[in-house]
Symmetry: C2
Subunit: 494 residues, 2 copies
């Protein structure tokens, strides 16, 4: 009986789609940072910095952001509904949280927060989300159109699963992009159709450029089905102007493209002259209803003021699809049975937070504003610091949680990178990490330099603005010192 492993799985026989995508925010740099951290635990003082500063991943609570008290109290009570029957609970939880938890538990199957729910999520929680959307936009939202999801990632994957039939189906995505999009499109067997954001135009979206990309894709035989727009932008930190948003809506409507609106940073806007407007609101304001345009909006509790990444809560609102399509989407959602209940609860709380008159309103608002103001301050400090460095330019961080400065590297640095077989931005990011412990993601991780991109060859890093204000103050001199010595080393050789 000979041993036969021919059909078994190896790097050669794995699904090749898995092999061709990359996912840099959790990739090379993250792994190198973890190795350094382990090394420093074993031999403290072995590196010229006290700790690794993880600016590679948008992970607020890992960098010290405090969770919102009201959210955690409600979650804690819903996990252990027995607490709702005990008097002592009033010593540890606010009446506000107790009331909300009671209301949530009463709407749950089995009244104990451990049963499978409807695959779209618990109806009452979807009603809370829909009412939050309606209050935000001034246009109605229906609970039937809301799918609660395990974070935005699973919602985006589900959308691609529904849309993509074959490699002949294309999806327009921005460059630089959040690499979940290319990964998901590749895994679902489709073709990404990249369009370039304009760095010179504050990372805005130029319709003539998108049109050019769409037309080229059509000439190449692709059926372009949808367009991804990330607003506020990741990795770019831009907030689109309303005029720009209106142009995009008109464009998608005219071209029959489903809008996939990544709006997970809607609560992260830091500048006075820009506000967040959902694409659905912009479309409705232009007079377009469900019959005119199809829009899927993604949101999550990972960012914003909640920063509850690990909880995997989110929603998508699907407007302008027929009932039969909605039925199919529900069926696909039911294959994984339901989104996790903790994430469902959190999403309802974030979209339907305490109101004026609720006992905990003031405290909630204070915590929320503290986080927003502090992030705004950090956004400014960090982008100014980057801009002050030789050969670096950094657009204003209007929203989201990233600075995305461009670095004009000396020719010798580019040559050295080539000699090591890495991209120049990866070369810079690795040097930065080794010298300072600051982990950032090279722009190439967002495919800034790929394809026929007119910005090909430009060099960027994405750095989150998430370390606390004190930490950022410590970080900046380390960053400056490294950058100067790096530039000196390679300028002299050029």
């Amino acid at each position: 009986m000979s041993y036969n492993k021919t059909a078994s799985i190896t790097a050669e026989t794995i699904n090749p789609k898995v092999k061709i995508f990359d996912y840099e925010p959790c990739g090379e740099i993250a792994r190198h940072a973890e190795r350094l951290e382990q090394e420093m635990e074993k031999s403290p003082g072995s590196r010229p910095f006290p700790e690794i500063t993880y600016c590679n991943l948008g992970n607020p609570q890992a960098l010290g952001q405090r969770p919102i008290t009201f959210f955690r109290e409600v979650l804690s009570l819903c996990d252990n509904p027995a607490l709702l029957r005990r008097d002592e609970t009033r010593m540890l939880f606010s009446p506000c949280a107790i009331n909300r938890a009671r209301k949530i538990i009463e709407s749950m199957p089995g009244r104990n927060s451990g049963a499978y729910t409807n695959s779209q999520g618990i109806r009452s929680l979807r009603e809370a989300v829909a009412s939050g959307i309606a209050a935000r936009d001034g246009f109605p939202s229906r609970p039937e159109d809301i799918f609660l999801t395990d974070g935005a990632s699973s919602a985006i994957n589900l959308s691609m699963q529904i849309l993509i039939r074959s490699q002949e189906d294309g999806v327009l995505c921005p460059l630089p992009e959040y690499p979940l999009y290319s990964a998901s499109i590749i895994l679902h067997g489709g073709t990404m159709v990249p369009y370039n954001l304009s760095e010179d135009g504050d990372w805005g979206l130029e319709i003539f450029e998108v049109k050019r990309c769409l037309e080229e894709a059509r000439i190449a035989g692709l059926t372009v089905r949808a367009m991804v727009i990330i607003n506020p932008g990741n990795p770019t930190g831009q907030v689109l102007s309303i005029t720009n948003q209106e142009e995009i809506v008109e464009f998608c409507r005219k071209e029959g493209l489903v809008m996939l609106a990544d709006e997970v940073y809607q609560d992260n806007v830091y500048v006075e002259d820009r506000k967040f407007h959902s694409f659905k609101k912009v479309a409705r304001s232009l007079g377009y209803d469900e019959n005119d345009i199809s829009i899927v909006s993604f949101h999550s509790v990972s960012m914003g003021f909640s920063g509850e990444c690990g909880r995997r809560g989110g929603y998508m609102e699907i407007c302008g699809f027929g009932d039969d399509v909605m039925g199919e989407i529900r069926k696909v959602a039911s294959v994984t049975l339901c989104p996790n209940i903790g994430g469902q609860i959190l999403t309802s709380l974030a979209m339907d937070p305490p109101k004026l008159g609720d006992g905990c309103f003031e405290n909630f608002m204070a915590e929320k504003e503290d986080i927003r103001l502090s992030l705004a301050k950090r956004a400014k400090t960090l982008s100014s610091a980057f801009s002050s460095l030789e050969g670096m330019t950094c657009n204003k961080v209007e929203g989201a949680i990233y600075a995305f400065p461009r670095i004009h590297l000396p020719a010798a640095a580019i040559k050295a990178a080539k000699a090591e077989g890495v991209s120049p931005d990866m070369f810079y990011a690795c040097r930065l990490l080794d010298a300072t412990g600051i982990a950032v993601v090279p722009g190439s991780g967002f495919h800034q330099v790929s394809g026929r991109n007119k910005a090909a060859g430009t060099c960027h890093i994405r750095c989150t603005i998430l370390p606390g204000e004190e930490k950022i103050k410590e970080m900046i001199p380390r960053l400056k010192e490294f950058h100067e010595s790096f530039m000196n080393e390679f300028r002299d050789r050029s």
Copy 2:
């Protein structure tokens, strides 16, 4: 500017893979039951039964199963770590839960249970799971091989994503099957290769039958990459004998098939003469190590004594894949960033529960045994009741949470079903629901009747054993009365 929706999404232009699979546990019968429930809310007394009894979905807590106190206390504390700093907490939580929660929180990024974790899950929780597996099997388990997941469903989807390259790749699956498998194989573009379980052999697995199916598939040009085995069985309720398990291991080893071992019902075994043995343990006991056979084992907190379905916690243990393949799997896992933290915590608690000497050990064991004994009693009562009915036979429910009786329908009933354009088992299940409010899933939902199955044309229903003992006592007379009148109606016409 004409409106062009040609590329937009309709039932005709949706990904056709989405359209061809069905998922009956959340399908037709479930929707009909929900409609009835809404109707009864509006007009109470409109139906000859007091409520809908949802026996269609394995959803223990929706049917009254109580969560394990220790689990919920730990979850509640981890959600609100501020409680760990308050004295009053001791009045509401056991010291045992407080200690465990403290330990968990200390091992978390940012120490507040809201940050993204490692994509495989938090290391310390994976260590707890690995130690639980080692204690269960008597063979070592490594935290590097553990992936914490959002329930077993997402783990199964991830495995299919890794394994399936094209329609030429096949995966052996049992018939009757849990329909997640066919859905996932179809969505990932592969081909399901069904093998029949033997109803006459207590739903055991006959190697010659699997071999026949494998060979036919190979002749048809398929590369069969893996074999799914569900033990204890869903929907069949069987527990495989150790001899049968050994045969299966030898077979997969010889044929170079990856074993996909669905072991989510490992804590649901009700008969003295059968025990749960993991396939990894069976393989290791036969002397086979990672170089001999590749095994992926799926487990979750949804079933067993925890019944925490809505929490979406689970793990997969991957053994016998190379480092490069493991790297690719980690990359795919990182696209959805990380499994939800509540589910991660619960999974660690279920696999590493309180031990003798821990303050809450007795209470934990009492709760656990109560649930198991009660389920064992319900399994017996329900299968006996089914077997006592005219034309029904029901194998013993040895494990899992389902009875899967076979119904020999009168010819006139089969004719009537045909006239209505539904399968005979769907016809029976609909009649049952309308008359009694009891929702079950027809056997065809598990593809019992599909393809070249020698059992094609047999008629089954799957009924969970989850309603409480009192509820089951009420259900049985309703079931009997319906069945008698159904048989009378159609026997006389035959």
